[in-house]
């Protein structure tokens, strides 16, 4: 804890740990958010006091927050304080910072809480991954989020802050361009459906190859620090990114995590070896067993996440399982299923699970994809092959809980 922490902050911090321990003991929860809420009640500035004097890296964006934060932790090496359960709002940050007092801190931040968390944690680096439609009934306007990020970065008074930002996402560039020392990353970004109209003037953005520009002058930044092709080049240093986890999006996440680490003087060659070795992140991409089935669990929460995950599937006509819920943490509105290019699954048979399996099945039917609605788990035929299971947030948690390593 920082030197100047008050008695009240110390009491609040102790309360966070006690409540969280109780929460875990009583089995009422994983005990992160509840303790954090108590701490904030006692000392509203608790995050500031807990973060003071520590080197903080924040990670925000619609997709890849948890994975990129986890890559940052691994790449840093040694003990790092982090919110690894994905509790990414102030209560979760308080809990993480109160439970673990390491000098190095990597926190994922909910997109809507970026301004608040910047001000409270005074980070060395903030990583801005991407912005796309997600949880429509809550954060309904993705362009509005980009505007809030931009305002937050404009208002933030600390010239030492390094912003590591994706140069291929126009909404991220709109936010990041207001800082003098933004470090731009030219990393593959496949989902651009939410940035077809210019965030500045609403006219159409033209994309040519990996470049993009609008007639109003808004364009991809020319000075990029990080490029990702076969090799990853950060600030002139070239390293080989050979991830154990699948997916091009994970390469982009890793490139941005490594750029953030480079800017706090972590050796790139050492960090990349650590990141390459990561097998799974909180169950994501892990291989699990369930009733004689072997499943690879893939989390996909929104259209861009689904598009990226489906691109990793083998093109062999194998069965694919998809599980969809629409609970609070997922957003109650599953309309986004129609923004997912499920046509990519033609040629596979898709088993539909989850509370909203009929919404999924209807979407697949209109996409001309072969589907089975699973009303009874026992009737699913077993196979020797590893089956890819794509699930959105709470459905993923359900499957992680019901399956075994």
């Amino acid at each position: 804890m920082g030197k100047s922490s008050s008695v009240r902050d110390q009491v609040a911090s102790a309360a966070v740990r006690t409540v969280n321990r109780l929460s875990r003991m009583t089995g009422k929860g994983s005990g992160t958010v509840v303790g954090g809420r108590v701490g904030i009640k006692i000392a509203p500035d608790l995050v500031s006091s807990l973060a003071r004097g520590r080197t903080v890296i924040l990670v925000s964006g619609t997709n890849g927050k948890t994975t990129t934060t986890s890559m940052t932790v691994a790449g840093w090496g040694g003990p790092v304080t982090t919110n690894e359960t994905g509790a990414n709002m102030p209560a979760g940050h308080v809990a993480a910072l109160a439970e673990s007092k390491e000098d190095h801190v990597a926190l994922e931040v909910d997109e809507a809480w970026l301004a608040h968390t910047l001000a409270s944690t005074r980070p060395s680096v903030v990583v801005l991954l991407n912005l796309s439609r997600d949880q429509l009934d809550r954060a309904n306007e993705v362009r509005h989020l980009a505007e809030r990020w931009r305002k937050a970065l404009e208002a933030y008074q600390d010239d030492d802050l390094v912003v590591v930002a994706n140069a291929n996402d126009p909404l991220v560039v709109y936010a990041g361009e207001v800082r003098a020392n933004t470090v731009w990353c030219d990393v593959p970004t496949s989902w651009l459906a939410d940035a077809l109209s210019c965030p500045k003037c609403t006219l159409a953005i033209s994309h040519v190859g990996s470049a993009w520009h609008c007639s109003c002058g808004f364009a991809k930044p020319l000075q990029v620090t990080t490029t990702l092709g076969d090799e990853l080049v950060v600030d002139g240093t070239s390293v080989t990114l050979d991830l154990s986890m699948p997916g091009e999006f994970n390469r982009s996440n890793a490139a941005m995590a490594l750029t953030a680490l480079h800017s706090v003087n972590v050796n790139l060659e050492v960090a990349v070896r650590r990141v390459n070795a990561i097998q799974s992140v909180v169950g994501r991409f892990s291989v699990r067993r369930w009733r004689g089935h072997v499943l690879r669990l893939l989390l996909a929460k929104n259209p861009s996440g689904f598009a990226a995950m489906m691109a990793t599937l083998p093109d062999d006509g194998s069965d694919v399982w998809v599980a969809i819920n629409a609970r609070v943490a997922d957003g109650h509105d599953p309309s986004w299923l129609y923004d997912v290019p499920f046509e990519m699954l033609r040629g596979h048979r898709v088993y539909c699970f989850g509370d909203r399996r009929l919404d999924l099945a209807t979407r697949l039917d209109y996409a001309e994809v072969d589907f089975v609605v699973v009303d009874n788990d026992e009737l699913v035929p077993t196979s020797k092959e590893t089956i890819s299971l794509l699930a959105n947030y709470t459905a993923f948690s359900d499957w992680l809980a019901r399956s075994e390593p």
């Binding site: 009934d137 362009r143 109209s197 309309s335 129609y338 923004d339 919404d359 209109y366």
Partner: protein
């Protein structure tokens, strides 16, 4: 060939609204009817189509879509009888005026005499309305309060949610259907998709069973529980 055209999906497609075009096109094709589904981009001319579909969008894109459509042949095509399904922002654009970006009033296309002002709070949640004795189910997420001027017929009466004003949802004319329910509403409500198809083709349709029927029944069950 009968053409269905989704207008400006880049601007008006925030809530999976592209699914409406897909649903009607597929339901037509499965009955052996000719159907072509196209979408109109920002730089395109309005193509000739029997049915145009408008979705929901954020403030800036909504304003731009209204500006582009006002200058296009869309208005005269609709006056000449082309059919339209409009959802959410699309519903507001077809009216006389709507509010975006605070309380600034903006001119709509004036195809229907309705006025949309800024509602006291956002309407977010399940929306169910009764349309000719049948339930229409979907999800709404908008900040508008829409008032129908005299002579304009509502699409339905609200059973759950807010719709235009808590009492009525949307509006309809002989060739326009408008609702605040996205969902996408035509995918979730196969009977409603078929009302539209039947009007567009001018024929009685053969019944078509699909998994959408089970989805519709489930949503009705959940809403009445």
């Amino acid at each position: 060939m009968t053409t269905f055209c989704v207008l400006y999906p880049d601007l008006l497609g925030t809530y999976g609204d592209g699914g409406n075009g897909l649903a009607v096109a597929q339901r037509a094709r499965r009955r052996g009817l000719d159907a072509e589904l196209v979408s109109m981009g920002l730089d395109d001319e309005v193509p000739d189509a029997a049915l145009y579909l408008l979705g929901g969008g954020e403030d800036g894109p909504q304003r731009l879509a209204a500006d582009l459509l006002r200058e296009s042949s869309f208005v005269s095509r609709v006056r000449d009888g082309a059919h339209v399904v409009a959802v959410c922002a699309g519903l507001q654009i077809l009216g006389s005026t709507f509010c975006v970006e605070g309380d600034d009033e903006y001119e709509g296309l004036g195809l229907v005499d309705v006025v949309t002002s800024r509602g006291e709070r956002r309407s977010v949640g399940e929306l169910a309305t009764r349309v000719d004795g049948q339930l229409l189910v979907g999800f709404e997420n908008h900040g508008g309060r829409t008032t129908l001027q005299s002579g304009v017929e509502a699409l339905g009466t609200v059973v759950q949610g807010r719709g235009n004003d808590g009492r009525f949802d949307g509006y309809r004319t002989k060739n326009i259907w408008a609702t605040y329910a996205h969902g996408p509403v035509l995918a979730m409500n196969p009977w409603f998709a078929d009302v539209i198809l039947s009007t567009v083709y001018g024929v009685e349709l053969e019944p078509l069973t699909s998994v959408a029927d089970a989805l519709y029944q489930e949503r009705c069950r959940v809403l009445s529980a």
